[in-house]
């Protein structure tokens, strides 16, 4: 019997698991995919928003600002990439200039520091690639960029090292309420738990409907992105947003924390919760709108395009509360600024759990986590020391991102390790560069195959195949 079962191992589920592991609770995370960070958390803008955008008094505003404030220390303690690069919101029409002042006022109301309005020329002085059409901008110093995979993994690994169980490739198929709590039926057997946290992203409505007859609406909103080569990564140093224009909600252009350039997302409500296809129209829209903000974006240097689905709730705000069913807590409708808010959402969820179960501090809680050693981030002396100790770090597998065999082995061998090509890619960046895994995937596949004891052709890009195969063989 678990005290808390979290459904969904995205950034919210993993952050909640980490937070709950600070207390003497038996916690489990059930995830339908074979890895953490497989849904909305893996395909988004990777921005830690400053918190000036959300309306005053909303959970979005409160948790965003708090999350953003928590981020620098979390990144240090849990060893994930985060950078406060600042942001700008561009205005293209003089008639819209008052909207910048409104945003500045909202920032003040929300408790966001380091926000000011500048003229178009001042904006271009700060970011020389900005378009000549920019007539004013809001500058926010505390906006940041993060690696969403590393961040989610860091939360998950920290939860794991503090005793949380992770059940991957485990699809929840039904939930029965009983006097002690819940029996949760899954593709891998039943799980008993006192409390459930529903962090199932775009599927949160389906999970909710398993226990409650009250409606909870989640609409998948498709967002398409273009990712460009590192050669384009320094075109802008800040995250560049747009005020909404006549053409609709704007599109952002940002460096990523690893030095690529990212443009997107589109915003299109769809029905299919699994449809992460890109479309010609969507990618064309990203190009057209991002070109309004920044001059000479090198679209010839696109290395990949992708689509993410935001889980848009029907209330306009995050839906984080105990439902009408006692012990069943929703963490639903976590669209933007969900990534930024995740650690604060986790604290908020803990408070709600505390109203149901007694919370006793776990004095053994380990507050730091060591991530995969990224070889390129080391000094030459450190690199040489590492190679001497572990010769596998002297062998480059991914040429484009300079990822060593040592890092890939670490990604595969560590607890909650990668079992797919995408899993290795997200943990190490092997295959994330300009050749998009053309050269390194055969080597990575053979390393995974060796670890799992399967044939190379059974190693999967993503999904449950690799682990399924392993378990079926056992």
């Amino acid at each position: 019997m678990y005290d808390v079962l979290i459904i969904g191992a995205g950034v919210v589920g993993c952050a909640a698991a980490m937070e709950l592991s600070k207390y003497k609770l038996k916690v489990c995370v059930a995830e339908k995919e074979s890895d953490v960070c497989e849904g909305t958390s893996k395909a988004n803008s990777a921005i830690i928003h400053a918190g000036f955008d959300a309306k005053e008094g909303t959970l979005k505003a409160k948790l965003n600002v708090l999350g953003s404030q928590m981020m620098p220390e979390l990144a240090k303690k849990l060893d994930f990439a985060y950078k406060r690069n600042g942001a700008m919101v561009l205005c293209f029409d003089k008639a819209d200039l008052p909207k910048l002042d409104e945003l500045e006022q909202r920032a003040r109301n929300n408790g966001v520091d380091g926000v000011r309005v500048v003229t178009g020329d001042e904006a271009r002085k700060l970011e020389p690639s900005l378009s000549d059409e920019v007539c004013g901008a809001l500058v926010a110093e505390t906006s940041g960029i993060v690696c969403p995979f590393e961040m989610t993994l860091a939360f998950a690994e920290n939860a794991l090292q503090n005793g949380v169980d992770f059940k991957l490739s485990t699809l929840v198929t039904g939930i029965d309420k009983n006097e002690n709590g819940f029996t949760v039926h899954t593709s891998r057997g039943d799980i008993q738990t006192k409390v459930i946290i529903n962090a199932a992203g775009v599927y949160a409505d389906k999970i909710h409907a398993m226990v409650s007859s009250k409606p909870l609406g989640i609409t998948p909103r498709r967002g398409e992105y273009l990712l460009m080569d590192k050669a384009a990564g320094s075109l802008v140093s800040r995250t560049i947003f747009q005020l909404p224009t006549k053409m609709g909600k704007g599109i952002l252009v940002t460096p990523t924390v690893h030095g690529n350039l990212l443009a997107g997302p589109t915003a299109e409500n769809i029905d299919d919760k699994d449809n992460v296809s890109t479309t010609k129209n969507g990618l064309d829209e990203v190009k057209a709108k991002s070109a309004l903000s920044v001059k000479n974006i090198p679209f010839g240097k696109v290395i990949t395009s992708f689509t993410g689905l935001r889980a848009v709730g029907d209330t306009g705000d995050f839906i984080i509360a105990q439902s009408d069913v006692k012990g069943f807590i929703n963490a639903a409708g976590i669209e933007s600024p969900g990534l930024s808010s995740a650690p604060a959402i986790a604290q908020y969820l803990c408070e709600i759990v505390g109203q149901i179960l007694p919370l006793e501090t776990n004095t053994d809680y380990i507050g730091t986590r060591k991530g995969i050693t990224h070889f390129t981030a080391l000094s030459k002396d450190e690199q040489n020391e590492l190679i001497k100790r572990e010769p596998a770090y002297g062998k480059i597998v991914c040429r484009c991102e300079t990822v060593t065999e040592g890092e890939i082995l670490d990604a595969i061998n560590r607890p909650l390790g990668a079992t797919t090509l995408d899993g290795v890619k997200r943990r190490t960046r092997a295959g994330m560069g300009r050749c998009q895994a053309g050269f390194c995937s055969p080597t990575t596949m053979s390393l995974i195959a060796k670890k799992l004891g399967i044939k190379i052709q059974d190693v999967r890009k993503s999904g449950v195949y690799s682990t399924q195969r392993r378990q079926d063989d056992e």
Partner: protein, 425 residues
């Protein structure tokens, strides 16, 4: 002592041929740096035949061709280091030396110094992301070369029902290879109205197996969540835009991409070498020297070749010129003429010729911009016509190699122009 006369980056066909030629010309103090665990580069996965007709006057497989050169390297005692990747090439301030930073399990991260460097890193395939094909991102989409490596070197069975986008040579070779592996290849779709592969490969790899080549077609959507389920192929108009209503669904579990090769010049750019945007390779002189003195470039990292024999020949010249640079220096006093790509010519290698450094026979290599029938290739300098050659057919997939004798060039005053003459032939 980490000082060398010559460092050669890459131990594929280009690097090996350059090393062998430099050694023959008297450079003893040289080293080949190869990132793979064996010499031979991409040839090792090209297990089909058709290599070496020019160089060895016989038909070899890729590994056999590689072995011939690897044996020459070994017989001549040329040192090479495997599993060694170059991280950076830089000019050393106040010296004509170049600093080459390498990494290997044996050396760790170390900087080597050399008087001359030959860049022979080869090329990579254009990935799906760069092609902007909409759709999902399932398992089963590979570049043709990656699939070739998985099938030929790892013994993997990657799929049963195959569609190939792009008619580059690797894609054509893989159409045959997958068929021989028991798969069914439904079609090869090519965006352009002509193939980007060699004629002989279309005949031997597609026609012989009844595989249709759909010219002016492209993949417009990719279906399947975790595993590829099928693709939509549509016809394109003269501007290469898909024509509404022409799309057809092809169920498949494998999509191979053979849509172009890109010279791998990240190190080159880092070294401050000027790049020719037409080839994505270095801009070079008649000596195959880049804009940085003592840094030479050859093979597919310079411009993508269709025959390895041409790579070997070109790279041997780079090796000889590097030897000349090391031993006596390259004459920089004389006049330098630009070699310009005129009508119908996409680029030329070299892009400049310095008259003091002419060889008895001088190569100008180029590709045409489209299909040309019954035309003349003309090389001129001002009013002077240096060469005129009739050709029944010229296609972009086949590199043209022109040879100009020294005495034709040595007294020229004006820049050289290479162009296709379409009328009055």
């Amino acid at each position: 002592m980490n000082e060398y006369s010559l460092l050669i980056i890459g131990g594929g066909p280009a690097g090996m041929a350059a090393a062998v030629a430099a050694k023959k010309a008297g450079v003893d103090d040289l080293l080949i740096l190869e990132r793979d665990s064996v010499l031979g580069g991409i040839l090792n996965q090209c297990i089909h035949n058709g290599f070496g007709l020019h160089t060895f006057k016989e038909e070899l497989t890729g590994p056999e061709y590689a072995e011939r050169y690897a044996n020459m390297v070994k017989e001549q005692g040329i040192p090479f280091e495997l599993d060694t990747m170059v991280l950076a090439v830089e000019k050393v301030q106040g010296s004509d030396k170049k600093a080459v930073t390498v990494i290997s399990a044996k050396r760790g991260v170390q900087t080597l110094y050399a008087k001359a460097v030959i860049l022979a890193m080869g090329c990579r395939e254009r990935p799906r992301g760069a092609l902007n094909i909409p759709g999902s991102r399932p398992q089963g989409v590979y570049t043709a070369g990656t699939a070739q490596k998985l099938v030929n070197l790892e013994g993997a069975k990657i799929g049963k029902e195959v569609v190939i986008l792009g008619s580059g040579d690797i894609g054509l070779i893989m159409a045959r290879r997958m068929t021989l592996e028991g798969a069914h290849v439904a079609a090869v779709a090519e965006l352009m109205p002509y193939s980007s592969g060699l004629k002989r490969n279309i005949v031997q790899c597609l026609d012989d197996y009844g595989i249709p080549l759909l010219l002016s077609h492209t993949v417009v959507d990719i279906k399947g969540r975790e595993k590829l389920e099928g693709v939509y192929i549509a016809k394109v108009d003269e501007n290469n835009r898909p024509i509404e209503g022409t799309q057809e669904y092809y169920p498949c579990d494998t999509l191979l991409l053979s849509c172009g090769l890109i010279p791998e010049n990240e190190l080159t750019i880092g070294a401050g070498v000027e790049i020719d945007p037409r080839t994505n390779g270095a801009s070079v002189s008649e000596s195959l020297e880049t804009s940085v003195e003592g840094v030479f470039s050859c093979g597919n990292v310079l411009h993508v070749h269709d025959l390895v024999d041409f790579v070997s020949e070109e790279s041997a010249r780079a090796g000889e010129n590097a030897a000349k640079y090391i031993q006596s220096g390259i004459d920089r006093s004389s006049k330098t003429l630009a070699v310009n790509a005129g009508n119908g010519v996409r680029y030329t290698v070299p892009s400049r010729i310095s008259l003091a450094n002419l060889a008895p026979l001088n190569h100008i290599r180029f590709r045409v911009t489209g299909v040309y029938k019954n035309v003349s290739i003309v090389v001129s300098s001002g009013e002077k016509e240096l060469l005129r050659k009739k050709s029944q057919i010229l296609v972009p997939s086949e590199m043209v190699d022109l040879i100009l004798k020294q005495d034709k060039l040595k007294d020229l005053d004006n820049d050289i122009s290479v162009y296709i003459e379409e009328v009055g032939v």
